[in-house]
Symmetry: C2
Subunit: 384 residues, 2 copies
C-alpha cells in the first residue's frame, strides 16, 4: 500500500475545464511516448506515479495526453491537458505548469498553447492591442515605423536631440534602446523628461503624433515607479524586457489603470528558450505569452538580419500575435535588427500590413542627415 | 562623417573599473573572433560601430576583449570586460549586459563571471549562506537533509501531516513542492500555517530544529505578501523560482530586513539556459547568479537522476557556490531529483560535506512507514 492514501480534497473543487499545451518531443516513438507520460507527472505532482492511489489526484491533477502523433522525422507531437485549477489563476504558476521542470529536460519544446475562456478569465491581456495603438497614432492601415534612441554613452541632451530628429522625420514610435536604464551618463528621470519633451515638441511641429516609449526595465521595486515617472514626464508608451523582469510584472504593469500606456516587449535574455530543441517556440514566447502578459507590441529579431531567426519562425510569431485567444486583443509584431530598405517587400509579404518596422542603425547609415533619412523611410512606408 | 558626433558626457563619470564575463563561443577561429567582436557591441551600444566616433563611447562603453584563446576543438574562450557604470548598479541591467541580446544568437554561452569589489558593492548577496543555515540548524559539519511536501491535490491537513512525519523522522529542512502555490485544494495561507505548526510541533518533540520552507513563487505583487504571511505563520525559510519571478525580485526579498529568512531557489523554467550551446553555464546560473541575487541554497537536478546534468556540470555548480565573490557568502548546493541511498558516497565525493541532500519520492519508496524512512536516511547521513 502506498503511504499517500486517498485525499480528502473534494472532487467538486475541480470544474473539469482543462487547458492544453502542445509539446514537440524529440526521440524515437518509444522515447517520445515515455517523455509525454513523464511530462504529465513532472509538470503537476512531481511524485512517483505508482505511489499515487486511484482517485482525484490521478483523475484531475495529473496531466492527460489528449493526442500523440508524429511531428516530423525526428520528433513527435503530444497535446497534454491540465486542470485549470492547478494554475491557481496565477500567470507564474501557469508558466510553471506549462514548462517549469520540463525546461530542464532535453528535447522538449512547447509549440502552442490552447487556452479556453475559463483559464483566460483572470487575464486582461493587452490594454491597447493593434487597434488601440493605431487609434493613438491615427493610422488606420499602413505599417508603423519605430526606431530606437542610442547609443548608450550619450548624454540626456544628446539622446533627446536624436529623439527630436526622429520625430521631426516622422517616426511613429521612438523608443529608448533597451540598454538605457539609469546610467550616470543619462539618468532615467532626466532622460525620459528630455526625450518626451523633444518628441512632443517635434510632434506639434509636424502635426502628426509620435509616441515616445520609455524603457522601464529595472530592478523590481523601480519598475512601477519608473512607469509613473515616465507617464508624468509625457512618455506615451513603455518598454520592458520580460526575460529580465519576469512576465508577471509586465502583466501587473499592463493591468494598472493609473498607468494605462501601451507596452512593448524587448526579447533580451529570452533567446535561450528558442535556440535549441529544448525550449519554447517563437510563437509562444514572443506571441502568446507576450499577449497573455499584456504586451501591445512584441519586438523580436527579423529573419535575415544579424540574428538567426528563420522566416518560418517569424511567421509563427506573427500568427500567434493575432490567433484567437478569448478576449485578448491581437498585438503588433515588431521585427527589428538589421532592417534595410530592400527588405520591405519581403517583410510585408511575411507579416502583412499589421506590423511595426523597427529600424535602428539603418537610419544612420542611409545618408548624412538624420531627419531626411527618417523622412525617406516614412515616405516609403506611406506608399505601401 | 557620422551623424553621432563626440558625446559631451564627461570621461570622469567612468571609474575605469571593469567586470568581465567569460564567453564560450562555438565556430571556427575566424567566426569566433568575429562573434567576440560582435558581443562587445551587441551587449553595450547595439549600434553600428563604424558610426561611433573616437572618444569616450568607444573607450569606455564598448565591451573589450581581454583574452581570446581556444577552449576546445569546437569552441573558443573570450573574456570580455565591461565598464561597471553601464550596469547602473542594477541586477536587471547587469543581466542584460552579460547576456541580453547575445542570448538570441546561437553558439554563445556565458561560462563564468569575474566580478570585482566595486561591482559587487550594491549587492548584499545571501543573508545566511552556508554558515547561517548551519547555525540555525545547529549542525556544524555534516551534510543536511531536505525533503518536499507533495503531491499537489492533497488538502492542507494532509500536507501538514506529511510535514509532521518528515520532521519527526529528523529531516533538517522541509520545503513545499514548487508546484504548491495557492490552489483551491491547499490555499497558501492555510497550508503554510498548518505546515509550519506541524513542523514546529514535531521539532519540539524531537528536540532538534527542522526548518519549514514555504514556496512563495507567486504573482509579482503577492511575493512579498506571502513572504510576510509565511514568516508570521512560523515558516523558517522561503523558496522561490527565479526563472519565474525574476532574479531581482529574489534579491529584494533577500535584502528585506523585515523578512530575514533563508532563501532556497528552485530551477523551474531555467533549464533552457543550460541545455544547449547557447545559454549560461550551470555554475553561473545556479551558482553565481543565485548567490548574487541573495539565495542561501540552490536546488538543481543531481547527475544521474531523471534529469540530464552531468557530474561535471554539477561540480561546476558546487564550485561556483563557494568561489570567492567579494563579500558574498558561500551558499549550499542542493542537488535533488531521483536521489537514492546508493548515490550518497558518489555525491559526497562530488560535493563534499557542504551540501543539502534533497530527497523526495525516494522517502516514500523505501518502506511503508514514512517516519521510519526519514529516520533511516537521517541516521545514514549522521554516520558520514
Amino acid at each position: 500500500m502506498s503511504i499517500i492514501r486517498q485525499t480528502c480534497t473534494p472532487a467538486s473543487l475541480f470544474s473539469g475545464d482543462r487547458f492544453s499545451v502542445t509539446y514537440r518531443i524529440y526521440g524515437s516513438e518509444q522515447e517520445a511516448r515515455a517523455k509525454a507520460g513523464d511530462i504529465c507527472i513532472e509538470q503537476t505532482v512531481e511524485f512517483p506515479a505508482d505511489e499515487v492511489p486511484e482517485g482525484i489526484i490521478r483523475d484531475q491533477v495529473f496531466g492527460r495526453i489528449e493526442l500523440f502523433e508524429r511531428f516530423d522525422r525526428e520528433s513527435f507531437k503530444a497535446i497534454i491537458s491540465y486542470a485549470i485549477e492547478i494554475t491557481a489563476g496565477e500567470l507564474t504558476q501557469f508558466l510553471n505548469v506549462v514548462f517549469g521542470n520540463s525546461s530542464i529536460k532535453p528535447g522538449i519544446r512547447v509549440e502552442h498553447l490552447d487556452l479556453q475562456e475559463s483559464l483566460l478569465k483572470p487575464f486582461k491581456g493587452p490594454r491597447f492591442g493593434r487597434e488601440g495603438i493605431r487609434k493613438l497614432l491615427k493610422i488606420p492601415k499602413r505599417p508603423l515605423l519605430c526606431t530606437a534612441i542610442k547609443p548608450m554613452g550619450l548624454s540626456c541632451r544628446e539622446l533627446a536631440d536624436l529623439a527630436y530628429q526622429f520625430a521631426l522625420g516622422g517616426m511613429d514610435m521612438i523608443k529608448d534602446d533597451h540598454g538605457l536604464t539609469d546610467q550616470c551618463c543619462s539618468p532615467f528621470e532626466e532622460r525620459v523628461k528630455r526625450c518626451a519633451d523633444a518628441v512632443n515638441r517635434a510632434s506639434r511641429k509636424t502635426g502628426r503624433p509620435s509616441l515616445y516609449i520609455a524603457n522601464i526595465t529595472a530592478p523590481h521595486s523601480e519598475v512601477m515607479k519608473r512607469a509613473r515617472l515616465a507617464k508624468n514626464a509625457g512618455a506615451e508608451g513603455l518598454m520592458v524586457a520580460p526575460g529580465i523582469i519576469g512576465f508577471d510584472l509586465m502583466r501587473e504593469l499592463a493591468d494598472d489603470d493609473s498607468i494605462a500606456l501601451p507596452i512593448m516587449t524587448h526579447p533580451a535574455l529570452q533567446g535561450s528558450f528558442v535556440t535549441s530543441r529544448n525550449g519554447i517556440s517563437h510563437g509562444v514566447i514572443f506571441g502568446q505569452l507576450a499577449r497573455l502578459a499584456g504586451a501591445d507590441a512584441t519586438i523580436f529579431p527579423n529573419f535575415g538580419g544579424r540574428f538567426s531567426f528563420s522566416r518560418e519562425e517569424c511567421m509563427d510569431i506573427a500568427e500567434e500575435t493575432s490567433i484567437p485567444m478569448g478576449q485578448l486583443k491581437p498585438i503588433f509584431p515588431a521585427p527589428g535588427g538589421g532592417m534595410s530598405l530592400d527588405r520591405v517587400p519581403e517583410m510585408l509579404e511575411t507579416y502583412g500590413q499589421d506590423l511595426i518596422f523597427l529600424i535602428g542603425g539603418g537610419l544612420f547609415k542611409h545618408g548624412p542627415d538624420l531627419v531626411e533619412n527618417c523622412r525617406y523611410f516614412r515616405q516609403m512606408i506611406e506608399k505601401i
